[in-house]
């Protein structure tokens, strides 16, 4: 497999850095988790073709690499967007309409919770209470907390994040 076939839209330089890291560790299955950590740090996520690349490089079955990636919640196979929208679905937010807020984000962006828009601008996530009940329904975008969000405000909110 050539590096070119595995650019996944990313820079070849990332592969070069990954290769350098792989070259610095023993070519055994013991190196799998450190290599996955490095790859996720470089690429932001671990798509299947990157997993297959690592499997070949370490001579570990691809099914086992996939097994490790899906075992640890730290590893993700979803690309992350530049901005992460985190809608609170805790009790207070929920009773004040957080579900409709999530649905509005979802509809506007065309993605479900846990997914990323094809242009990698946004990743939509949801969480139980993040302790801003007084602002319910609350939404965090990156590190910014937005309070009293309602479905009508969603489009305007997104405009602030390019």
């Amino acid at each position: 497999m050539s590096e070119k076939e595995h650019t996944c839209g990313c820079d070849n330089a990332l592969y070069q850095e990954l290769n350098a890291f792989i070259a610095s560790v023993p070519r055994t299955r013991d190196s799998l988790i450190p290599v996955l950590h490095k790859a996720q740090a470089l690429f932001g996520y671990l798509p299947v073709d990157l997993q297959e690349y690592i499997a070949k490089a370490l001579d570990v079955p691809a099914s086992e690499v996939y097994g490790v990636v899906t075992f640890y919640t730290y590893f993700t196979m979803q690309p992350r967007g530049r901005h992460t929208i985190n809608v609170c679905l805790g009790t207070a937010c929920y009773v004040r309409g957080a579900k409709q807020v999530v649905e509005a984000f979802s509809e506007l962006l065309g993605i479900k919770i846990g997914e990323t828009t094809p242009d990698r601008r946004f990743t939509l996530t949801a969480q139980r209470c993040f302790g801003a009940c007084g602002l319910a329904p609350a939404v965090m975008i990156n590190q910014d907390v937005h309070g009293r969000v309602n479905p009508k405000k969603v489009a305007e909110l997104l405009e602030q994040y390019k």
Partner: protein, 590 residues
């Protein structure tokens, strides 16, 4: 070094390093197991073998925990019994309970253990995972709804075969055994060997069932249904009816097949003898080209009887393909000959003939469905049954197998020699080929006691033999003094090692290499009665060699039906007709 301990108040002395499980077994205490397989490291995942060890912080899985000096073990304490029972109850809470509709009904390790423990009701709420059936391959069916996550199949696929398709994915309650990101088996590098199915304790992995198709053919008065049975079946079929491993049931098998309603009962052994003629002469031709004519020839020649090995070579070592004999497997020689030679002799239109083969193998189902296997002008093999499936059909027909009289295979494609019998064992194809090739080259019998090449027999993973050719016939004088070196490997983990040597150019001094996918060869095939231990393999191997030794004719070229088919139909080995019907080509695949 030995260790003394007490198990359920019985003193026991065992070698250091013995597991508590085996120490208990040695004094007749049976501890249930589900994930354990003899001879490989247990994953310890099922928790069905827990025992109480005084002074230990927790209960220990006896399949992993080793004995210690002075250890006091309780298998039959309330704590241990309850823990084991709870483990089984938890597995059952997450397992479909439609046992009557399962292919493993009355032959299921989980069912047996639950019954032994006297479990009649579940204390836990049921939480069954629904997964779609994987019917994507010709050989295997995977129903992950029934999987108990014991990981035996993972051990078989990753550690023994080193094909690396199956692994545990996800975690906790969502855990599933699968082929990684690939949704179904057909998209993976699975070679269909079926070792996963052979070790599955429940009905999660089984062969793709052909029983209904075969009954339909038998019930169709317009069809002339012909069956033939692989060498390994006769040493294992009896186990389906409670006979001990290693029972030779050749004659009963023939009678049972007639009673099932097959119109002709042939023997794949006939085609095994034919394979030796074709493959032996192919080897002699390659040697002639290389030694006498100094041509660039792919040597060593590799055997090609094993469909799992073919899939493996095509997938993982495409560069090895020129080294593979072009001979089809015996099954795929027998099929087209039945639809041409036999059809002609019997005056039957081949379109009305249904060829059923009984194989110890799941990859054979894949092989029969290869698009190129239509050289008779029809599908050369219509249906493949595993040994287990034939056992089920015999049972369903109400045939008292154990007490059947012996029968004899039908003429034309049913006669065989001892050389064909030993195809079932690792090292057997090689020995059979040497019996004929040596005699063709020197005019004398293979100079070993009882015609056996002892160093390539048995269960060692990679085996070798070497001997010098002398006194060659004049036409083979160029081989005078040549040392013949042969290599035999079984289990795909060992095949990996051999193929890596081939790629590195380290096999140049060898002339012939035999590879069998399954540990032990076909006697340990993925379609054989299930077993997880080498003693069963050894018993079957011994049965096959005694079958061979019981014969008057033990060399393929002495088979009168082989002589006849060359005289009346095929002409000569490697001739035009042979080339068309008995040889094939291989395709690299990703």
């Amino acid at each position: 070094m030995t260790v003394n301990l007490t198990i359920d108040n019985q003193p026991v002395t065992v070698p250091k390093g013995t597991t508590i499980l085996n120490a208990a077994r040695s004094i007749g205490i049976k501890i249930p197991t589900l994930c354990h397989m003899e001879g490989v490291v247990s994953p310890g995942s099922c928790r069905v073998c827990l025992v109480e060890v005084e002074g230990a912080r927790t209960l220990l899985p006896s399949c992993i925990a080793q004995v210690g000096e002075g250890m006091i073990v309780h298998v039959n304490s309330k704590t241990a019994r309850t823990a084991r029972r709870t483990s089984v109850e938890l597995i059952l809470a997450n397992h479909p309970l439609d046992c009557n509709n399962c292919s493993r009904n009355n032959n299921c390790e989980l069912q047996t253990i639950a019954s032994d423990m006297g479990i009649t009701a579940s204390r836990f709420p049921r939480l069954v995972q629904e997964h779609p059936l994987d019917l994507s391959t010709s050989g295997l069916t995977r129903d992950m709804s029934k999987c108990i996550l014991c990981r035996r199949c993972v051990t078989a696929c990753q550690n023994i075969q080193q094909v690396g398709v199956l692994a545990a994915q996800k975690r906790g309650f969502a855990t599933i055994i699968g082929g990684g990101a690939k949704a179904n088996l057909a998209e993976t590098t699975c070679v269909q060997c079926g070792q996963c199915a052979a070790v599955c304790p429940v009905g999660a992995i089984t062969e793709k069932d052909a029983i209904a198709d075969v009954w339909a053919a038998l019930d169709d008065p317009k069809k002339h249904v012909v069956v033939h049975t692989a060498p390994a079946i006769r040493a294992a079929l009896g186990e389906c009816f409670g006979m001990p491993a290693g029972s030779r049931v050749t004659g009963k098998m023939v009678t049972a097949l007639r009673r099932l309603g097959f119109d002709k009962v042939f023997d794949t052994n006939f085609a095994a003898d034919l394979t030796i003629m074709e493959e032996g002469f192919e080897l002699i031709k390659r040697l002639t080209d290389a030694v006498r004519d100094k041509k660039a020839v792919a040597l060593p020649q590799f055997t090609s009887c094993c469909p799992g090995w073919i899939n493996f070579a095509e997938t993982f070592y495409p560069k090895s393909l020129p080294y593979l004999s072009s001979c089809k497997s015996p099954m795929q020689m027998e099929g087209p000959l039945i639809k041409t030679w036999y059809a002609q002799k019997a005056g039957i239109d081949p379109k009305d003939i249904v060829v059923v083969s009984v194989m110890p193998c799941t990859a054979k189902k894949h092989e029969a469905n290869r698009p190129e296997m239509v050289d008779s002008g029809f599908k050369d093999t219509d249906y493949v049954l595993t040994t287990r499936e034939l056992g089920k059909m015999v049972t369903a027909a109400g045939i008292d197998f154990v007490n059947l009289p012996d029968g004899r295979a039908d003429e034309l494609a049913g006669e065989s020699t001892g050389a064909a019998d030993i195809f079932a064992n690792s090292g057997g194809v090689m020995e059979a080929a040497l019996r004929t090739a040596y005699e063709v080259i020197t005019g004398r019998e293979l100079p070993f006691p009882s015609l056996h090449v002892a160093s390539i027999q048995g269960l060692d993973g990679i085996k070798e033999a070497a001997f010098k050719l002398d006194g060659c016939k004049p036409e083979f004088s160029f081989l005078e003094g040549v040392t013949v070196k042969v290599l035999v490997a079984h289990g795909l983990g060992n095949a990996h090692k051999v193929c890596k040597k081939l790629e590195a150019g380290d096999l140049a001094e060898y002339q012939f290499v035999e590879i069998m996918t399954c540990p032990g060869g076909c006697i340990g095939g993925g379609g054989q009665p299930r077993m997880t231990d080498d003693n069963v393999r050894r018993a079957r191997i011994a049965a096959i060699y005694s079958e061979d030794e019981s014969r008057t004719l033990r060399k393929s070229h002495e088979n009168p039906e082989i002589k006849r088919i060359y005289a009346e139909f095929l002409g000569e080995p490697l001739g035009h007709k042979s080339h068309h019907l008995l040889h094939t080509t291989y395709t690299p695949r990703q």
